[in-house]
Amino acid sequence: MNKTLRLSFALKNTYRVNSILYALKQVPLLKRLLPDRLYQVRGFKIFANVLSVLWEIVGTFLGKLCYFLVMVALPSSVFDGMAANALFLHILFFLSLVGGLLNATLFDPSKDQYYAIILLRMNAKEYTLVNFFYQMGKTWLGFALFGMIFGSIAGLALWQCLLIPFFIVGLKITAAALELRIIQWTGNLLFPVSAGNWKLFVTLLLLGLAYGLPWLGTALAPQVVCYLMAVPVLTGILSLRELLHFDQYRSVHQQVQTQQLSALQQTKTIAQKQSQRQISNDTSISSGKSGMEFLNELFIKRHRKILWRPALRIAGICAAVVAALLVAIQAVPDAGRDIVELLMKKFPFFILLLYFINRGTGFTTALFMNCDHCLLTYSFYKQPRWLLRLFRIRLLEIIKINLLPALVIGLGLDLLLFAAGSAGEPLHYLVMPVSILCMSVFFSVHYLTLYYLLQPYNIGTEMKSATYQICVSVTYVVCYMLSFNLEIPALVFCGSAIAFCLLYAAVACGLVYLFSPKTFRLRT
């Protein structure tokens, strides 16, 4: 047992340490500084080991702290007029049932279990039990500490607080034993890897009981919950025998790993089929153009469902909102003035709105998955002449798609200003819609430029560029911050936005012309 414990720790730690080093190697700039022999450098290994141990401690305590705080304490404070201890116990009880039943740790289809049992052929029973009891130890510690803290705050008696960790661990052991029994009877797991819908159903049901009953103004009485919590403690002790005597650990692990593998393969096939389904089967679609224009026209026509339909929908929703606001202006006396005031003060908010409605990432993903992914393997496609020609065509296309909702918003703004009787600043009628259109063009240029300069996918259609992901995230953060923190007059904002968008578009296109023949390649 000791040897198994040591080995399984060493294995898990190696796996984690290597994962940390691999993650470091993915960070842009840092990856250039780190040596290729990273995995052999003692200093880095020690550093990663320290991180790994910290992760183990954080995993034991921080996770439980967040759990108690977010899932139990915070929701408890929302429901007024109920005893804090009753609410606390009620929510904790049902949530623990979710965790106990669904968060299986005995046959977890994780990589380290696969390496240990399948590849290294370690003793499956010893490995499973050692890891399971180690997990139970960690669970007990975490729940004992935070159960005591949060339980005391909620007004629980000391013995009730102490009952919590024993209840949780007892429940998990009982669930594990129940699973073993089911395996013996049916040959199947309680919740096989493929049973996603069942898991979801049970989770929603228990979550409904945990939060739904208090929302309806009722909760189980603390005494009842305590009796119910005592049951798994007893069944857990009785279940230990089942765990220790079960002798099919290896075959069950093999079954779980096979299911996991087939689920992964299925996901891949589904993704492939999904991308094929996006292509229209309409045989009447054709094009009278030639060359790159021919390719682009057929691409757009055959992907209308994913390219134009969402833009049309968004435009429809925007038009409906404008119509509703126009009605409000007519119906409510002060609504017009309030709307205009809000627009003047909070105009930068349109950055975030346009960020959300732009179809940049959807467009570039479709381009890669259904077109560039294969054509980039042909050398003619990478010739600057064709590449830049197609970039121009695509840029116009994405601008057109994004302009549709932007146009509705822009015209809607003018209508609202007019209906509200805001004739004071005639310049607003021109500058506001134009700035909306410019911001829309900005997002179109931005995402297509990122795609051409950082082409993030490999031939297996996997996202491989951390730089691309960082750029996309930074775009969101900047849009968010500008939208909520920029407090300048609408006219000044619009003028600056127009100037910035035009300048950005010019610079971005210049960069694409200069660098994309080198950067727009399949990643290896």
Partner: protein
Amino acid sequence: MEFVIEHLSKRFGDKEVLQDIDFSFESGKIYGLLGRNGAGKTTLFNCLNRDIRFDSGDFYFMQGQQREKVSAQDMGYVLSTPTVPEFLTGREFLKFFLDIHRERLTDIRPLDDYMELVQMEPEDRDKLMKDYSHGMKNKMQMLVNIISQPKLLLLDEPLTSLDVVVAEEMKQLLRSQKAGRVVIFSTHILDLALDLCDEIVLLSHGILERVEKSDLDDDGLKKKILSALREEGHE
């Protein structure tokens, strides 16, 4: 015409995958490129197709005494997994390809003539390629690479996973198209290399080595190749 590789090197970290390769290929021949797993065959192809940057060296064509740069249009690259734009029909893909190459292609024939070349059934020609089988996609990929009349055609295990009939058709097609160009055919199947290729080249220790046939029969040649590849594995 000759295709010449000069001092081509590529290193991934500390591992030198291609080590100062010097080799020349004659046109009109199919070269079978053999090497063990990880020997660098795909890396070599990716360097030649300029999909990845190489560290040093050059490659070019020699027409008599004249040295010519290798442009993108001189190159055809057929992958083992066929990659064709699935939103187009076979006919549309072919039209698109001919549109792009119209300026440099002489004697452009009707689309159906090309389809005949790879024995594509008439009823399949106007189907979207997403509904094509693996073999049909492979035929289309091979066809467009041949139509563009590249001076250098790189084939990375293109016949793997094709059924015997399509594989035989493809072999015939390659034989008929080898005149005037260099064809480099990477494969793991020794019998296929011996059957199809005029020359066998080994990629081992990061360098290319021609296998001299001398007076050896197929069996003798096989033994020679295997022993050369085994040597690499033992080091």
